[in-house]
């Protein structure tokens, strides 16, 4: 279930070294956590069908150019037996300045293990290097993987070579890849394609693959599909199913399944934003009253399908909130309180760049958070927003 100590040390050292080489800065990272609770019906090749309940917590840490994911799965079969799986994977990209334009390097590390009913256990630790060519909405990669895997016996070497291409248009991403894998004396080739699409609250993933030229890893055509329907900010429904091949690296056995579940997502865990510094002192040319000058408001611009734009200002401590911009002829517009701390107004705002200021309790005109602040040529500041 868990990597051997030596493997863990190698992985940890590799991650630390890669973190240093790739220049990852933890200060810009953000973390999300999810828990999937589901039920499945599964039939592993050579076994009878079985129902199972599953619990899958996952933690993702990401920043530009780096993603680390840790996930585990607890499965309880109708027979009463249980299975535990754990995986940690990281992808680190080279900085854009390191390689020629449009080329990026990637180092991926993966380690994990699984255990079934106290008598079958696997672990693996692998590293992969990829070279990406990134065009406009399309790309290609070539990569190689090395590492070790064990099925309760002496570890076996893992070597994989692969190439892939991908293309993205609007909300759809298509990818295709071909790999040749060697795990001890087992060898096999996989070719396949994946699609990812999203629209509104729906996300759909699909894959179709074939295993060829296999010695000890089975043959066949495989396919999986899953859809995610977002219910709210922190909840989503998951439905997935399909057939997948044996994976000699991670130790999973070929099977077919149908699953349904609920995903719970934690709020975004990240450091407190530092974007909004204290507002500058009041300028004689910039205000016309006293009021709560130190209250900081936050503006959200929400275009609606009917062409109007809903302007929402969050100012919990305010008694009055006014807004003026080049879409109001710079006439102050009083916002209406809607919910706790939120004030809003609906305006007709044409597409383009607009300047806006907010005034709290008759104080000075300020550039609200949520806009790009810049000096306004009149001794104060103004917020810039783009309405697409």
């Amino acid at each position: 279930m868990r990597p051997a100590p030596a493997a863990r040390h190698v992985w940890t050292a590799s991650l630390a070294a890669a973190t240093s080489v790739f220049g990852v800065r933890t200060s810009a990272a953000q973390t999300t956590a999810t828990v999937d609770i589901g039920v499945s019906t599964v039939r592993y090749d050579g076994f009878l069908p079985s129902a199972a309940g599953s619990l899958t917590p996952a933690l993702t840490w990401e920043r530009p150019g780096a993603v680390v994911t840790a996930r585990g799965t607890y499965l309880r079969f109708e027979s009463g037996r249980r299975s535990l799986q754990g995986l940690m994977a990281a992808s680190l990209f080279t900085p854009p300045s390191l390689l020629p334009h449009r080329w990026r390097g990637e180092l991926s590390l993966s380690t994990g293990g699984s255990n079934y009913a106290d008598f079958a256990s696997f672990w693996h630790a692998t590293g992969e290097a990829r070279l990406h060519y990134v065009g406009a909405g399309r790309g290609a990669w070539i990569g190689g993987t090395g590492g070790r895997t064990s099925y309760g016996s002496a570890p076996r070497p893992v070597a994989v070579a692969g190439v892939g291409v991908w293309a993205r248009r609007a909300q759809v991403t298509l990818a295709a890849s071909a790999t040749r894998s060697f795990v001890g004396d087992t060898a096999y080739s996989d070719v396949g394609a994946t699609i990812h699409a999203s629209r509104g609250r729906f996300e759909v993933d699909g894959s179709l693959a074939a295993r060829l030229s296999s010695h000890g890893a089975g043959h066949g055509v495989y396919g999986e599909a899953s859809t995610t329907f977002t219910l709210g900010e922190r909840t989503a429904l998951l439905i997935s199913g399909g057939r997948y091949p044996t994976d000699p690296v991670s130790g999973s056995v070929a099977g077919r399944y149908l699953s349904a579940g609920l995903r719970l997502r934690t709020p975004l865990l990240r450091p407190r934003p530092i974007r909004d510094p204290p507002l500058p002192s009041r300028s004689p040319a910039n205000g016309d009253g006293g009021g709560s000058a130190d209250v900081t408001a936050r503006l959200e611009v929400k275009p609606a399908p009917d062409g109007t734009v809903r302007l929402v200002v969050y100012a919990p401590a305010a008694a009055t909130v006014e807004l003026a911009g080049d879409f109001t002829d710079w006439q102050p517009v009083a916002l209406q309180p809607t919910s706790e701390g939120a004030w809003e107004s609906v305006q007709h705002i044409p597409v383009g760049v607009h300047r806006v200021n907010v005034r709290i309790d008759g104080g000075r005109w300020t550039a609200p958070a949520g806009t790009t602040r810049t000096t306004d040529e009149f001794g104060g500041e103004v917020g810039i927003v783009a309405v697409p």
């Binding site: 200060s27 810009a28 589901g38 599953s54 899958t56 530009p64 150019g65 994911t69 996930r71 499965l75 995986l87 994977a89 992808s91 900085p95 854009p96 990026r104 990637e106 991926s108 993966s110 992969e128 990829r130 406009a136 909405g137 790309g139 990669w141 609007a170 990818a175 999986e224 899953s226 995610t228 998951l238 439905i239 997935s240 997948y244 099977g255 399944y257 579940g261 934003p273 530092i274 974007r275 040319a285 910039n286 205000g287 080049d326 710079w330 597409v351 383009g352 760049v353 300047r355 200021n357 005109w365 790009t372 810049t374 306004d376 040529e377 009149f378 001794g379 810039i384 783009a386 697409p388």
Partner: protein
């Protein structure tokens, strides 16, 4: 003889009509919010812009902004004059077919530090309206991204990216800057991250697979 006279008189006639329409244009009533000493100068600047076929609404709005903020007349006139010049430079770079929204966004980008060459490159690279790319460019620079880095990122994305993609790219940069990333690094990383949709770790996530 008569055709020659006609050819000579035609441009003069057109010029008189255009000039007549310009002088016949009533001052924008919204400018009455300016004080009596400032208003004539601003009206003259607006009329000059109209004659030069530049959009006048941004100039009126800039003057009204100054009035709302109780700026001095000199500050208002200077701001309007500078914006009119920026709009002219933006049109030089973007071409005479540029829309008022594009010119306004272009003027903001120039004021932020982008070069006319960058604007011209954007026009060449993208068939769709440039309003959002120019807005993103100006926005990035205002956020502290060096103008060269911002221009390179927007130029790299502008050819194929939709407006919504550019807005999302801008949000990613904003988020990372807010989280402490250096603006230039955040821009470069987001520009690339927006393109690298397939990574080695992605295939290891199969939701629901038992």
């Amino acid at each position: 003889m008569r055709p020659t006279c006609t050819r000579a008189a035609l441009p003069l006639l057109v010029a008189m009509v255009v000039a007549g329409r310009a002088t016949a244009q009533q001052p924008d009533s919204r400018l009455e919010r300016l004080d009596a000493a400032t208003r004539p100068t601003v009206v003259a600047l607006v009329d000059s812009a109209r004659t030069a076929m530049l959009p006048t609404e941004p100039l009126v709005q800039r003057a009204l902004e100054g009035a709302t903020k109780r700026a001095s007349g000199d500050a208002i006139v200077a701001a309007v004059r500078r914006l009119a010049a920026d709009l002219g430079h933006a049109r030089d770079a973007l071409g005479s077919t540029a829309s008022p929204a594009e010119l306004t966004a272009g003027a903001a980008a120039l004021r932020a530090g982008a070069s006319q060459a960058t604007l011209a490159q954007l026009r060449h690279a993208r068939r769709e309206p440039l309003t959002v790319p120019l807005a993103v460019l100006a926005d990035l620079v205002a956020s502290g991204v060096p103008v060269d880095s911002a221009a390179a990122a927007v130029l790299g994305l502008a050819a194929r990216a939709r407006d919504a993609d550019l807005v999302e790219f801008r949000r990613a940069v904003e988020r990372d800057i807010a989280l402490g990333a250096p603006p230039a690094a955040a821009t470069a990383a987001a520009a690339t991250a927006a393109e690298v949709w397939v990574n080695a770790g992605a295939r290891q996530q199969r939701p629901g697979r038992p």
